[in-house]
Amino acid sequence: MLRDRERREYALMLAPYLVGIAVLIALPALITFALALTEYDLIRSPRFIGTQNFRDLWDDEVFRTSIRNSLMFILFAVPLRLLGAVSLALLLHRRFRGVAAYRTAGYLPTVVPDVAYALLWLWIINPLYGPLNLALGAIGGPTPSWLTDPRAAQWAVIIMSLFVIGEGFIVAMATRQGIPGELYELGDIEDASPFFMFWRVTLPLMAPTLLLLMFRDTIFSFQANFVPALIVTEGGPPPYATTYLPLFIYRNGFEYLRYGYASAATLTMFGITALIVYLQYRIVKRWRHAFVV
């Protein structure tokens, strides 16, 4: 039972966090709802226009393209990133000589500031003299024009996202290290092959965390490609190949000053995100039975 004084102190400790969430997350969310139904350019007061924004979005070719692009990105980037994070975690979770350096290396790209990272890749994927195409050419591989070919540009953004898996790496590694070592010793004694142990023990026991990672990464991927998209490709070769939703929202809001319109797009983004996460959740629920021994 908590005494009064304790209650007050706990309330104090929770206050900044809760106030912060209310003001910086809940309130903006509500405002988005409201603004989506208006036309607002920050100079004149908002003008209520009902669902006009949504109807305009529906007709907006660029919007539809940006949704398609974002979905395509997620389709490839999320599984690949998850795979990368888990692989890193499984490779580096045990202690062996030099493992600290390897772990650092795996995390380091994540620490690089977005802008620097984007500029760096602008250099790396330069079709004529960037290291990537030079290396590919040297071994006789294809040298796509990363910046001008729409498909290639999209893949460039995906590849860029594969190096910044630090957070997923750490979470996956912590999860793996949380599995008691004795379970694996038992596997040694019971002649369980490494594949058997991975499929029947490691994966099922890591699954809840991986699921959470997948959800978070899906949502995160909706916005992760903003900086690369802006700096590297400036929205992409026609037809707007690397204009993803965040860029669309940013452009309409801060460049074209159509805040109401941008808010409507934001709400749509929310809706799509929630839908995808829900679908992922349902699919995985169905598959859980496959893990039974």
């Binding site: 010793e185 038992l186 004694i189 002649d191 092959s193 026991l205 893990f291 039974v292």
Partner: protein, 348 residues
């Protein structure tokens, strides 16, 4: 079923010498207990037998076969861990059948074997449950069933009862013994509890600091300890030990005086077990002050102090002298043990 032999096994962890040249033979079908304090090397010995640790030197033989370089999976042993190591996401049935499925046994055949093993340990009712739904004792049984289901040559058990509460431990001890009588497989059991060692083992191996102190039936280890360490470690309350002073042909050890044998080394220690300390309220023997009286149900432990030496006596439940009173203590020479003060070896 097979015998297990340690030949000159040494295990170092960097600077630390966990095992120093262990030579030990476990007979086919025997229940051998490895006992000793924390860090004595008993778990290390078990793990080298399982193949979970590599030996630094020496060899391990199972059923006459040198398995020193053989992977754990091919040694045909089973292991029960102190924490049971049950898979939290699998049901009891899946846990028991884990090894069978790993080796590719078809589900139908596996189920029969799992059921048989479950019945042996008495957990056939629990097959559908998950580990988190089980009590400590139930989890223990599942771990045992899993070890039994493969019918290996040797069962290795690493302090399986340590996580159970006292009463359950006593009950499971008997269950284990019954199980061994039923199944008859060679069992090597590690514990730090000397009572478990005495009650369970056909033979007991006492270890300390990586060295085997004594190997023998419980009776031998209790009544004829090879050295001071075994004498003090086995038996509860621990044996009373006094440095002995020689004075005109007698040994004065604490409150006791014994005749000194010829050919005794320079310095000697004398040990008397608490149950051999005779407590009289009359006039015979040395005076001792009663400091603490522990009532243990059917007997009493008296913590005494006699001529500056503390000692413990084990007496009947009805003997309860008040704290602070004086009693008389004595011991028969035949009940006394002599140890070389330098080496700790038993001399009589």
């Amino acid at each position: 079923m097979a015998d297990l032999r340690f030949a000159g096994v040494r295990k170092d962890y960097g600077e630390v010498r966990a095992l120093r040249g262990l030579d030990l033979e476990v007979a086919d079908g025997e229940f051998l207990v490895l006992v000793g304090p924390s860090g004595c090397g008993k778990s290390t010995a078990l793990r080298t037998a399982a193949g979970l640790e590599e030996v630094t030197e020496g060899s391990i033989h199972i059923g006459g076969r040198d398995v020193t370089d053989v992977k754990p999976a091919y040694r045909n042993v089973s292991m029960v861990f102190q924490s049971y190591a049950l898979f939290p996401h699998l049901s009891v049935e899946e846990n028991i059948g884990f090894g069978l499925r790993a080796r590719g046994v078809k589900p139908g055949r596996a189920r029969d074997k799992v059921l048989a093993a479950a019945e042996l340990v008495g957990c056939e009712q629990l097959l559908e449950r998950k580990p988190f739904q089980l009590s400590g004792g139930e989890r223990q049984r599942v771990a045992l069933a899993r070890a039994l289901v493969r019918e290996p040559d040797v069962h290795l058990l690493d302090e399986p009862l340590s996580n159970l509460d006292a009463q359950l431990r006593v009950y499971m001890r008997a269950e284990l013994k019954r199980l061994h009588q039923n199944v008859g497989t060679t069992m090597v059991y590690v514990t730090h509890d000397q009572i478990e060692a005495l009650t369970l083992g056909d033979r007991v191996a006492v270890l300390n600091e990586g060295v085997l102190q004594q190997l023998g039936p419980p009776d031998a280890v209790y009544r004829r300890p090879a050295n001071r360490f075994v004498a003090r470690f086995i038996g509860s309350p621990a044996m009373n030990l006094f440095p002995a002073e020689r004075m005109d042909g007698s040994l004065h050890a604490g409150p006791f005086v014994f005749e000194a044998r010829p050919n005794l080394p320079e310095r000697v220690e004398v040990g008397v077990r608490p149950e051999h300390v005779r407590v009289d309220e009359g006039d015979q023997g040395a005076a001792a002050e009663v400091q603490v009286v522990e009532m243990a149900g059917n007997e009493t432990y008296l913590h005494l102090k006699a001529s500056d030496s503390p000692l413990v006596a084990r007496v009947g439940a009805d003997v309860r002298p008040p704290v602070g009173s004086t009693v008389r203590v004595s011991a028969r020479p035949a009940d006394a043990y002599l140890f070389d003060a330098e080496t700790g070896e038993t001399l009589s």
